[in-house]
Structure formats: structure tokens, C-alpha cells
């Protein structure tokens, strides 16, 4: 066997799985976008691009959910990253009891996302949780109410849950990056009289910047698609205030049973994410040539 054939031999099982259970369903799913499904008779009718026109022309919820997706993604990412980076720096510096504390701090990442949703629903609920009373005590709220039923601020509920879940991911990625910086660089710098903060600014940050950027950008795609926490906590409500595109698709397909239109929204989201991913690929290329 030459190398070409060998490579395909090793890849065959993976390709078989992905072809049968991901690509074929994906193509079928895309084709739904051109059909209008009738629930009662169980038939579908070819409608061409009609549903795309509806999406672009008259769907206010879609526009709203796009804005919400941006807010959800950027806010979650910002806090996950800031706190995750801080934690990685602390863990990297080492302290007493780290071997017990580190696994404990990584636990949220192993918790199933729907459980995270349920858990935080209880935390925000005045009947079962302490948070409303905490908010009242520190003066954020006039009286202890459920944050999740306030259309103006409800999104902060799922964001809090998402931050709780996502900190360990950034900590793990950044901790690995921090540990791969050779110790000698810091020793040499210290001999030249470079102090702690300067070393952080001029050695640590530039060396892990590529990891930071790539992790942030890739994670953004993942968060934009991450609907489970929101579905469990608010189901997009109240008044669509926590509706992101991914939850809107779920709602359209499985509450309204409109598979055709759900597919149209999915394609729109996929299209936007692919543009983003393409730009990302270009940035990555530039960075590797630069470093």
C-alpha cells in the first residue's frame, strides 16, 4: 500500500460515520428549507425561496434574536475569559492545597448543561433560591423578584449560568499555554532585572496571545450555538427577551413544528458563522506567518 491509500484506510471509519450520520442528514436538513410542511395532512409542498424572503423581510423575532445572540455570546465570552484567565494565573503560580482545589474548581465543566440550567433556575427563583434576597439586600432590586421574569434583565440569568460553566474551559486552555512557556525565559529576564509585572506584560502576554485569540474566537462559535441552558432556564422568554437564534430554531422546529422555516433560520445562522469562521481562518494564517 502506498501512503495515499494508507491514509484513506485510517480515515475510512471516521468518514463513514460522518457521511452517514452528519453529512447526509445535514443535506436533507438544508433541503427542508425549500418546503412548507403541513402538520395536519403530513405532506410537504415545494415553495422555493419563499421562506427565505419571509426571514429577511418580515421576521422581527429573527432580527431581535440576532441582537440577543451577539449580546449573549460577547457577554458570556468576556466574563468566562476574564475570570478563566485570572484563575489560570493563580493556579499557575501554585499554592498550598492546589492538588485538591484545582479539580474542585474544574467541576462545573463536567456538569451536564441542562442540569446547570435547572440549578440556576432554582437559584434565581424567590421560592427556592437565595439570589433574589441577595439582590434586594445589596440594592440591585427593590424587592426580591425572579430575575428571569424581567424582560429587561432576564438574559443575565443564562449568562451567569454560562459563565459558571465556561470558566474552567478557559482556565484549562490558558493553564496549558502558561505551562508551556519555558522557565528559562523568566530566569533570564529576572537576571536582567525585569520585575514580575513587566515579565507578565512583555513575556507572558505576547507568548500566549495566539492561544488566547484562537480560543476566544473558536469558543464564540460554540457559544452562539449553545441553546440548552437558555431552553431550560427561560425558553427564550419573557417576550423573546432571551431568544437567541439557536433557541428560535428549536422553538420553530419543536414547538411550532415548522421544520421548513426552522431550516431556513438554521441556514442563515450557519451562513453567518461560516463568514465568521472564514475571517478567523485568515487571521490565523496571518498570525502564524507573523510568529
Amino acid at each position: 500500500m502506498n501512503k495515499q491509500t494508507q491514509a484513506w484506510f485510517y480515515l475510512a471509519p471516521t468518514l463513514l460515520f460522518i457521511f452517514l450520520l452528519v453529512l447526509i442528514p445535514l443535506v436533507t436538513g438544508i433541503s427542508y428549507a425549500f418546503y412548507d410542511f403541513d402538520l395536519i395532512s403530513g405532506t410537504k409542498e415545494f415553495v422555493g425561496f419563499d421562506q427565505f424572503i419571509r426571514l429577511l423581510g418580515e421576521d422581527e423575532i429573527f432580527t431581535m434574536s440576532l441582537v440577543n445572540t451577539l449580546f449573549w455570546t460577547v457577554s458570556s465570552l468576556f466574563f468566562q475569559f476574564m475570570l478563566g484567565f485570572g484563575l489560570a494565573l493563580i493556579l499557575n503560580s501554585g499554592f498550598k492545597g492546589i492538588s485538591i482545589i484545582q479539580p474542585v474548581l474544574f467541576v462545573p465543566w463536567a456538569v451536564p448543561s441542562f442540569l446547570i440550567g435547572l440549578m440556576w433556575v432554582w437559584m434565581f427563583n424567590p421560592v427556592t433560591g437565595p439570589l433574589p434576597y441577595l439582590f434586594e439586600a445589596i440594592g440591585i432590586m427593590d424587592k426580591a423578584e425572579n430575575l428571569l421574569s424581567d424582560p429587561d434583565h432576564a438574559m443575565w440569568g443564562p449568562i451567569t449560568a454560562n459563565v459558571w460553566f465556561g470558566i474552567p474551559f478557559f482556565t484549562i486552555m490558558l493553564l496549558a499555554a502558561l505551562r508551556s512557556i519555558p522557565k528559562e525565559i523568566y530566569e533570564a529576564a529576572e537576571m536582567d532585572g525585569v520585575s514580575g509585572l513587566q515579565a507578565f506584560r512583555y513575556i507572558t502576554v505576547p507568548l500566549i496571545a495566539p492561544t488566547i485569540l484562537i480560543t476566544l474566537l473558536i469558543r464564540a462559535i460554540w457559544i452562539a450555538n449553545f441553546a440548552e441552558i437558555i431552553i431550560v432556564m427561560t425558553n427564550g422568554g419573557p417576550a423573546n427577551s432571551t431568544q437567541i437564534v439557536a433557541t428560535y430554531i428549536y422553538d420553530t422546529a419543536y414547538q411550532k413544528m415548522d421544520f421548513g422555516y426552522a431550516s431556513v433560520i438554521s441556514i442563515a445562522l450557519l451562513f453567518l458563522l461560516m463568514i465568521y469562521g472564514f475571517t478567523l481562518g485568515r487571521i490565523r494564517q496571518k498570525m502564524t506567518t507573523y510568529i
Binding site: 471516521t14 436533507t28 436538513g29 499554592f95 451536564p112 441542562f114 437559584m123 422546529a253
Partner: protein, 270 residues
Amino acid sequence: MKNVKYPFIIGFLVFTLFPVFWMLKISLTPDRLLFSEGIVAWPSRITFDHYYAVLVEGSFPDYFMNSFIVSFTTAALVTIIAALAGYALSRFQFKGKLAIMTILLVTQMFPIVMVIAPIYNVLTFINLVDSLTGLILVYTAFNLPFACFLMQSFFDGAPVELEEAAMMDGCTRLQALEKITLPLCLPGIGATLGFVFTAAWSELLFALMFINRQSQMTFPAGIMNFVTKFSVDWGQMAAAMILALIPVCIFFSYIQRFIVQGLTAGALKG
């Protein structure tokens, strides 16, 4: 400077553990006290009734077993298949490599809800709706792309020279992979197993859509079912949730050091 970090560590610990503590508290609070005592840090009396109800009276032991079978089989299957693919992506230059990498990337981008109905049709076609085998196959397919990338980066980190030397001495490529390279990548394999196991253990949407029979439900689907049916039984729900947390937490705290190690090794080389 040294002591500045301790308040932060405590802060992180409180933020991480408080919600879990609160669930534990609710799971141990007798139903009567949950409402009469209001919001208190610890109930005046605790009970294990909810755990008893969940473990003995409900179907949770079945869900638990199903989840374990599905997660374990998926993790093993994905790791073996992804090891082969990751090896090919790391060691061979071949036509179509870029195309395959692109396909693997795109599979990570589209919303899962989009393919649920079509996959349901595929499963109906091969007669695997409502079966754990069907669920395992779907989980395998969806966990493969990320696992392939992960395994590829671990193989990139392992030296090619040893493998080539073994092949010079008469090993076939598969033997060299098995005897030399795989043992070197053990932390990476552990990390991949861990990732996939936790992902399969947590998955909800597919499990809800493809499984209808009670006896075949996984833990997440079982709990969601429970939530929709008995939405006011806080205590039992909390007990079920705490029980669901235990296996992943044990497994994950064991595996997390391999993940950091594996990623560090990968980063060093790249």
C-alpha cells in the same frame, strides 16, 4: 503579594460550589420545611427520603445504567476511531486532506436542531430508533470531529523518529503505532476518553428525541422527563441531580490532569 491570591481563590471556590451546595441542601430538606422555613442556609431537620424515592421507587437506576453503557461505549468507540484518523492527519500528506479538515470543521458549526429530524429518518431506516445502539452511533458521529483534532495534536507532539526506527527494525506501521506511539500518547488518549465520556453523559437533545421507551432512557432524558411530569417535587429533582453529578465529577477530577498535561505537550511542539 503572595497573600493577595487567597481571597480570590476563596471567591472562586464560593462561586463554584455554592450552587451545588444549594442543590444538596434542597435534596436533604423535608418537603414540609422547604416552604415553611423559607430561604435558610441549612434546614432544621434533614431527610434521605428523596434519595430513597429516586433510587428505589423511580426508574433512575435504569437511566443510570443506560447512560453508563452509552457514554462508555461511545467514548471507547470514538477514541479508537479518532486515534486512527488523527494518526493519518498527523503523519500522512495526501490529496484531499484539506477537504477533510474543512468538512470536520463545518460539522462543528451548524445548529444541532437542524439535523434531528433527518437523523431520525436515517435511524428509522436502519431500525435503530428507540435503541441505545442507535444513540451510541449518533453520539459517535458527532463526537468524532473534535476527537480527531485532539488526537491529531497529540500525535503531532509525539516524535516521529522512534516510530521510524521501529519500522526500520521490521515492525509494520500498525505495530509501530500500537507499540511505540500509542503508549507515548496515553495522556492524550485519556483526555479524549474523558472529553467524550462527559459529552455523552450530558447530552440531552438527541436522547430526548430518539428515545421514547422509559426502559431505554438515559439519565438526562430521564431527569427532564421527571421535571416535566413532577415539576413541583423539588426535593426529588435535586436528589436526582446530585446523583447525576457524582460519576462525572469523580471521573473528571481524575482525568483533568491528563487534559492539562496533554494540551501542554501539544502546545510545546506546535
